[in-house]
């Protein structure tokens, strides 16, 4: 297998002052010929010192998804490094790294070829250097565990002895990748790189860092969404020992609520700065603020949902296949149901926080961010900085889940540091974190299906109504785009199919939440498919496999098609693993759902028990995943388990409600998260193949809620069409 990078990046070898071999990316601007080469930025990816220690730079932000381990594993594999002599260092933000963000399950997908190419080019150079020293042809040499090895004689030279010579080797345009059957690192479970420092408490998240002369800050934001500060009295706050200053934050002085498409600015409020976190927290409690809510719609959840319901009848058509009216006329039966989903918060364990040192011309930032480029753009827009004035460090994060794709909290810290002329560590309280999240959009969906005399689905109509992320975040394009997608299942599987969207305007701040749109659409579609199976008096999995049809490439949108054989395979495997057809004790039931996202295929079976008092217990979850090559089976299994629990937990409890324009929930007592004693046994299996690795952080999430609702029906005969499940069973 050969590869050349069709990117602006190119890989270059250099020797460092200490004699180490440094391999990295040079970034060419879009007009390469107009710029002298020395102006291009260079970022390291691999450094090999004369002792043979290999330092690998983890370029993408680590939120707990394991990318700080997975991407270096790919580099190390292709290089032929000894993992025990590898050190992994988190890279700072730099344009030259490209695609340096965490989201959409894309890190491994987008970096698979880049990591392999970089590793393979260094291997080429090391083998070239060894070939000269050993006087044997390069074709007889391989790299293995940190040495170049002559295959015939097993003679070897460690990397450290080759770095000087290797730095002189000219790199080719194309390099051969290692055959996958020779992999020694990729595909083997690898503990994550920060593991020891996590369990001994020494790993430092942004919230743990301290700079000389640093001021601690927190904010009290207007609880009403789109509200402002009218006036405030800080006399009691300033009496608290340790309080240094009180600074109002008014985003209208900084470009308004949004600083760019998809990039929210800070929310209006009042900040307290102090010489300790506690003094700042106490100081905000003593603030007397008069809020200006004149621009708020003063919404409440009930009204929001009634708007959504009304808007189901005023829609735009987002996808149209065949003719659903003809299907309706031909049908012998029709099934129609409405599903409701709530707003959801992210509640990362490490609350929003950021350190900014804007005490000089330079703006240096330590940011728990999934999206450093948006942070850079925000700083440029708010303060008119040049990119050279901005330095962004990316410490490990205490969770992300999409929340840290937005940089509003970092803008808070930057404004405060600029005003103070000192480094500022801003920490939001958990209450601010929940009340000023960018929530998973709530939605109402009406699904209709028309069936022929054989029970075959000949028409499908899915209408979704809500306030859209596109509108909330000021993104360009169709508001439907983030909510009901032309790629959504079952597009491509029903001859007459229509997706429609009803757009509602709302003040509630909306953003991406792990697995995004399909958390809503897949819940509805896979609950509804279960209802159709029951309508047809068929086993759900049998019905679903018939619905999919024989293994084939199914065109979905334009040239995009996928292999239903891979989807069938995960379903058949999960049917086997969950003993789907075996009898269950009284009160128990199984539910199924399957999903494709980020190129991966997932099938899940959830087993529940609903006892005589209608108390629900999730007993077991079986998941089978085909994500192509599994880079790190340990991290991959963790991602699948985490995504499933997140889907189940949100289905059980997750709900943000709005009253008078403000979020009601404030902490873990009223935004409940699953505890150890509540979790089911989880069994995860990966399909083994040599296909390119695909996304994993998100795909297992959307089917979990539908499989759970389907299991509850099987166990109790109660159909859940509104999430969260909450007390719905107990209230019957």
């Amino acid at each position: 297998m050969k590869n050349t990078l069709g990117r602006r990046n190119f890989i270059k070898l250099t020797a460092s002052a200490s004699g180490a071999l440094v391999v990295g990316l040079h970034f060419q601007s879009c007009a390469p010929k107009k710029e002298p080469v020395e102006n291009f930025s260079f970022v390291p990816l691999i450094e090999i010192d004369t002792e043979g220690w290999v330092t690998l730079i983890a370029k993408n932000p680590e939120i707990g998804q394991g990318v700080k381990t997975a991407l270096p594993m790919i580099l190390a594999e292709e290089l032929g490094a000894d993992w025990d002599k590898v050190k992994v260092v988190q890279g700072d933000y730099n344009k030259a790294y490209e695609e340096q963000w965490a989201g959409g399950s894309y890190a491994v997908i987008l970096n698979w070829d880049l990591m392999r190419t970089a590793g393979a080019k260094v291997r080429y150079a090391l083998i070239g250097a060894a070939s000269q020293k050993m006087n044997v042809p390069t074709s007889e040499l391989i790299t293995r565990k940190g040495s170049v090895v002559h295959k015939k004689t097993e003679k070897s030279i460690p990397f450290g002895d080759l770095v000087a010579a290797a730095s002189q080797i000219a790199l080719p345009e194309e390099v051969e990748f290692k055959p996958m059957d020779t992999y020694e690192i990729v595909g083997k479970p690898c503990p994550q790189v920060d593991l020891d420092n996590i369990v001994n408490g020494s790993v430092q998240y942004t919230i743990d860092l301290k700079l000389p002369d640093m001021v601690y800050a927190t904010v009290l934001k207007n609880p009403v969404h789109k509200g402002k500060v009218q006036s405030f009295d800080d006399s009691q706050t300033r009496k608290i020992s340790g309080v240094i200053d009180v600074i109002p934050l008014d985003n209208s002085n900084y470009g308004g609520r949004l600083i760019g498409p998809n990039s929210p600015n800070f929310v209006n409020g009042v900040a307290v700065l102090a010489n300790s976190t506690w003094a700042a927290f106490k100081g905000t409690e003593k603030l007397e603020v008069v809020w200006d809510n004149s621009e708020s719609k003063k919404e409440n959840t009930q009204d929001i949902f009634s708007h959504y319901h009304n808007q189901l009848n005023t829609t735009s058509v987002e996808r149209q296949d065949g003719n659903i009216d003809q299907a309706r006329r031909r049908a012998v039966s029709q099934v129609e149901h409405v599903y409701e989903l709530p707003f959801l918060a992210h509640v990362t364990m490490e609350p929003m926080n950021c350190i900014v040192d804007f005490s000089s011309e330079m703006c240096e930032v330590w940011a728990p961010t999934q999206n450093p480029e948006a942070l850079e753009q925000g700083l440029i827009k708010l303060f008119g900085l040049q990119p050279e004035q901005i330095k962004i460090h990316l410490p490990r994060m205490g969770g992300g889940f999409g929340r840290r794709y937005y940089v509003d909290y970092a803008m808070d810290a930057a404004v405060l540091s600029k005003k103070m002329g000192r480094p500022v560590k801003l920490i939001w309280t958990r209450e601010e974190d929940i009340k000023h999240d960018w929530y998973r959009p709530a939605s109402v969906q009406r699904l209709s299906a028309w069936l022929d005399q054989d029970g075959k689905v000949i028409g499908w109509r899915q209408v979704l109504s809500n306030a859209s992320r596109v509108t909330s975040l000021g993104r360009e394009g169709n508001p439907a785009g983030t909510e009901i997608d032309e790629y959504d299942f079952p597009a491509g599987f029903v001859p007459n199919l229509q997706f429609e969207y009803g757009h509602v305007l709302s003040d509630v701040p909306l953003g991406q939440w792990r697995a995004v749109g399909p958390t809503a659409t897949a819940f509805a579609a896979h609950s509804f498919l279960n209802e159709l199976a029951i309508h047809n008096k068929k086993d759900h999995i049998d019905f679903f496999l018939e619905f999919l049809g024989p293994p084939r490439m199914v065109p979905v949108v334009g040239d995009f098609k996928y292999d239903t054989g891979r989807l069938r395979a995960v379903i058949e495997k999960v049917r086997e693993n969950s003993n789907w057809n075996s009898p269950l004790p009284e009160g128990q039931g199984r539910g199924f759902a399957a999903h494709r996202q980020a190129g991966s295929f997932v099938a899940e079976v959830v087993t529940v028990e609903v006892n005589a008092d209608n108390q629900l217990k999730i007993v077991r979850v079986d998941a089978v995943v085909d994500c192509g090559i599994v880079v790190n089976p340990s991290g991959a299994e963790a991602q699948v388990e985490g995504a499933i629990l997140e889907g189940l937990c949100a289905a059980l409890y997750g709900e943000i409600t709005i009253e008078d324009g403000a979020t009601v929930q404030s902490n873990f007592h009223d935004y409940r998260w699953m505890r150890l004693g509540e979790i089911p046994e989880i069994h995860v299996e990966f399909i083994k193949n040599d296909l390119p690795p695909r996304g994993l952080g998100e795909p297992p999430l959307p089917p979990a809620a539908a499989a759970l609702a389907n299991a509850i029906y099987a166990a109790s005969g109660v159909r859940i069409r509104r999430l969260p499940i909450g007390n719905q069973l107990l209230d019957i």
Partner: protein, 154 residues
Amino acid sequence: MSSFKLIVNKEKKTISADPDTPLLWVLRDILGLTGTKYACGKGLCGSCTVIVNGKSVRSCTLSVADAAQSEVITIEGLSEKGDHPIQKAWMEADVPQCGYCQPGFIMSAFDLLSKNPNPTEEEVNNVLSGNICRCGTYSRIRKAMQIAVKVGNQ
């Protein structure tokens, strides 16, 4: 500001703070022991769990005045080299995802196993259900607890 004496990880400390300052912020901002985490500030999630006079405590809701003269153990003081059997069990099971809640879990586990080296699954569930892991590492926490119990009994 008042002066308080504490024994933290076997070292005597005298610190100056307002009496109502939660032990959490004394540990983090004054003593630089940042392994103890802030996540809820209301004793709801267990991320700030430390051992005070032999009992697990949510350090975000215990004032330094009430903690004065106490003996405090934080994650940094659990072992010299991060090799307490519970920490080793956590590593063997590759428990953490983001890792932020894990010191709190480990301290809760330490408290449980110090008092009850052979807890039932139900006892583990009951005690560790005071902590929240947002990433969903619970299955591996169970596995790590089984390893730690087994090692403790050898």
